[in-house]
């Protein structure tokens, strides 16, 4: 009897291809995503991570050019030349991690003052990554320019202090001291591109609030969209179709509901974060409201796309879990983007979560103006619009065909 019951259940399970898919494919997909996100790929020794850093050469000397050339040849580092203002803007908008600036007088500094005049401008929301780059740069610059600077410095000191020292003895002293790395003269000044007060904001709180808010919003909207399938199953959709209006109005009516609830949900979540955790949501209220509207529109569009794509509640539950968890994993809702490898960060742009999270970062962290945030808002509106347009034929095909 036990075996008969087991056999019946297995047969039913295997006949439900979507259940099989979700049982095995969803966990495999998530494991794969998290494995990439955390940079582990099994027994094989993983390749060192590659960082892309903007570089500005204000000195334009042979020394600065030579140093940049040496850095360009380093494995694990990609340099992109940008002018100072453009470079700072890109870092400020979160589009690039850091900008290494060879300040004017860099060459003179090495020769005369023995000071390595460079500044590393960074996005404070990605401090961990920036520290890694800093260490990386320090390690390589110390090995190359560091020794040269030290030699110059010791030479200058010995020549001035012990002017009568025999050249051979002087050379021995210089070589001995400069071979010791523990007194590296390399100094890279680190400077955040954010306003001073911003850096005092809790970046973890922002990540927790916006990451979670968008992921949970997607789940609730999928559920609201699902009520359309419930209406199909309990027959009320049929009654709506009897009425003298266009079938697409039913879809748009549901979208309006999803949009209103999305807005309300985001507003409530931000107010709660302000009251409970002290998140300053009043930095730029118009920008915040616009961003909420754009995110809600994108999510509502996504919700009706999901519901139009499937035919039953069961299918919706499966597909929404699969798609929302995947988007949340790659888009930065579950794991902050800065700890992911660069290719994962690039991949994040396909996720709705990414645009929403970065938009709210722009407001709370980067403190960008509405104009500067507008491109992200437009992308969110575009996502909502495209999803809605795709949903219309799918809705007619999958939902209206009773």
């Amino acid at each position: 009897m036990l075996f008969t019951l087991f056999k019946k259940d297995m047969t039913l399970f295997l006949k439900d291809k979507k259940a099989v898919l979700l049982t095995f494919i969803l966990p495999i997909l998530l494991i794969t995503l998290f494995a990439f996100a955390f940079g582990g790929t099994g027994k094989k020794k993983s390749n060192p991570r590659t960082y892309t850093v903007l570089v500005t050469d204000l000195d334009q000397s042979d020394s600065s050019k030579e140093t940049i050339k040496q850095l360009e040849n380093l494995k694990g580092l990609t340099l992109i030349n940008k002018n100072l203002q453009k470079g700072k803007d890109l870092v400020k908008k979160g589009e690039r991690l850091a900008l290494l600036v060879f300040e004017k007088g860099f060459s003179e500094g090495i020769k005369k003052t023995h000071f390595f005049k460079t500044t590393l401008y960074f996005d404070a929301s990605r401090e961990i990554e920036t520290r890694m780059i800093y260490s990386f740069l320090m390690q390589h610059l110390s090995q190359n320019q560091g020794k040269e600077i030290l030699k110059n410095r010791v030479n200058s000191f010995v020549s001035n202090t012990f002017s009568g020292m025999p050249p051979k003895m002087k050379q021995n002293i210089i070589n001995t001291i400069s071979s010791e790395n523990n007194a590296s003269p390399i100094q890279i000044e680190m400077q955040s591109v954010m306003k001073e007060k911003s850096t005092k904001e809790n970046i973890g709180l922002i990540q927790a609030v916006v990451g979670t808010a968008i992921m949970m919003l997607l789940f609730s909207i999928a559920n609201i969209g699902g009520s359309l399938l419930d209406e199909k199953e309990n027959g009320t959709l049929k009654r709506l179709l009897y009425a003298p209006f266009k079938t697409t109005e039913i879809l748009f009516g549901k979208m309006l509901t999803a949009l209103s609830i999305s807005i309300a949900q985001l507003v409530v979540m931000f107010i709660f974060s302000w009251l409970a955790f002290g998140l300053n949501i009043f930095k730029d209220v118009p920008a915040l409201l616009l961003m909420i509207l754009c995110t809600a529109f994108a999510v509502a569009g996504f919700g009706i796309f999901l519901v139009s794509f499937v035919k039953t509640r069961q299918q919706l539950n499966g597909f929404s879990s699969l798609i929302i968890l995947t988007m949340s994993a790659i888009g930065g809702s579950m794991i902050p983007l800065f700890i992911m490898p660069e290719f994962m960060q690039k991949m994040a742009v396909v996720s709705l979560n990414y645009w929403g999270i970065q938009g709210f970062y722009d407001i709370f962290w980067r403190e960008l103006s509405i104009i500067e945030i507008a491109p992200r808002m437009l992308v969110l509106l575009g996502i909502g619009l495209v999803m809605t347009l795709i949903s219309i034929p799918l809705f007619k095909k999958n939902i209206i065909s009773l």
Binding site: N234, G235, T236, K238, R239, L240, L241, Y242, A243, P244, F245, L402
Partner: protein, 307 residues
């Protein structure tokens, strides 16, 4: 009021409706009688514009349904087979919503809801959620939801499925009253007694085709005025029963273990019984049935309605 001409509809290889035609006059109740899967609901779905027919035309109140769908939708009310109501909402809230989607002004709608709830005998429960209603009560609200916009034509698709006899009677009373108010009604069912009680004309539908239509009397005439003598045999020897059918000088039909013979029971029964004894068949039961719709259905389709 309703003119249907050569309507066909297929789903893949299955021909659900196969060239049906009928005309219904204003104020008439027209019954579509047939077993499950005969094509009744598909016909209703085409009449309500949910399905587009593969071929054929539908005219409602002299208007082509598929060229002026929205204006046709305004004059029809549809009571679907399922209880198409929101369980969590009250009767009043459900009716208000379904009235609003027809664009009825609020004040007029509230009055209409009040009248309809009185009419169906549920005004005392108007504030209760539908999920607390009995099956019969839900059916009545289901009907009321189709009447809010005062349609001229009403489609009732198996409105008594799953209800108790008392509620069924209430539904019959509602339908009769709607007829008296001049509504044109199409009533689909697989219950003979419902069409016999309610319908002015009946179409018998089987396997997507109308196999016979007319008033109840006209349909009965199809099988003649004579009574049916129904013999139930104690034996299951089909060959002998078949042989009896062949040698009988009367029209007869075999169903299961029974032989239905169209003859005069006073004049012809003796001859029938002689032939039965000649073939050594023993009779378990004998019944005399007046011509009825069930007989008509059997005659036209070769099967019983409940098959």
């Amino acid at each position: 009021m309703i003119k249907v001409d050569q309507l066909t509809k297929s789903f893949g290889k299955i021909k659900a409706v196969n060239g049906i035609s009928f005309n219904i006059n204003k104020g008439e109740i027209y019954g579509l009688l047939g077993p499950n899967g005969a094509g009744k609901s598909t016909t209703i779905n085409m009449l309500s514009s949910l399905f587009k027919p593969d071929s054929g035309t539908i005219h409602l109140n002299n208007t082509d349904l598929f060229s002026e769908t929205n204006s046709c939708k305004k004059i029809i009310g549809i009571v679907p087979q399922e209880i198409s109501l929101y369980d969590e909402l009250s009767a009043e809230e459900n009716l208000f919503f379904f009235g609003k989607i027809y664009g009825i002004p609020t004040k007029k709608l509230k009055n209409k809801i009040h009248d309809l709830l009185e009419f169906i005998g549920l005004s005392g429960r108007k504030k209760d959620a539908i999920k607390t209603y009995s099956g019969g009560m839900k059916r009545r609200i289901n009907i009321a939801a189709a009447l809010l916009h005062e349609p001229k034509i009403l489609f009732l698709d198996e409105p008594t499925v799953g209800v108790d006899p008392q509620s069924r009677n209430r539904i019959f009373e509602i339908v009769e009253r709607l007829k008296s108010e001049g509504l044109t009604i199409i009533y689909t069912t697989h219950y003979m007694e419902e069409v016999e009680r309610l319908c002015d004309r009946i179409a018998i539908i089987d396997e997507g085709k109308i196999v016979g239509q007319g008033t109840l009397e006209e349909l009965k005439k199809m099988i003649g005025e004579k009574e049916i003598v129904e013999l139930d045999f104690a034996t299951s020897d089909k060959e002998k029963i078949e042989e009896l059918k062949t040698i009988l000088p009367f029209e007869a039909e075999i169903t299961n273990n029974k032989l239905a013979i169209k003859c005069d029971k006073n004049k012809d029964l003796k001859e029938v019984l002689n032939l039965v004894s000649k073939l050594n068949l023993s009779i378990a039961d004998i019944d005399f049935v007046a011509p009825n719709l069930e007989r008509v259905f059997l005659h036209l389709t070769g099967k019983e309605l409940r098959d």
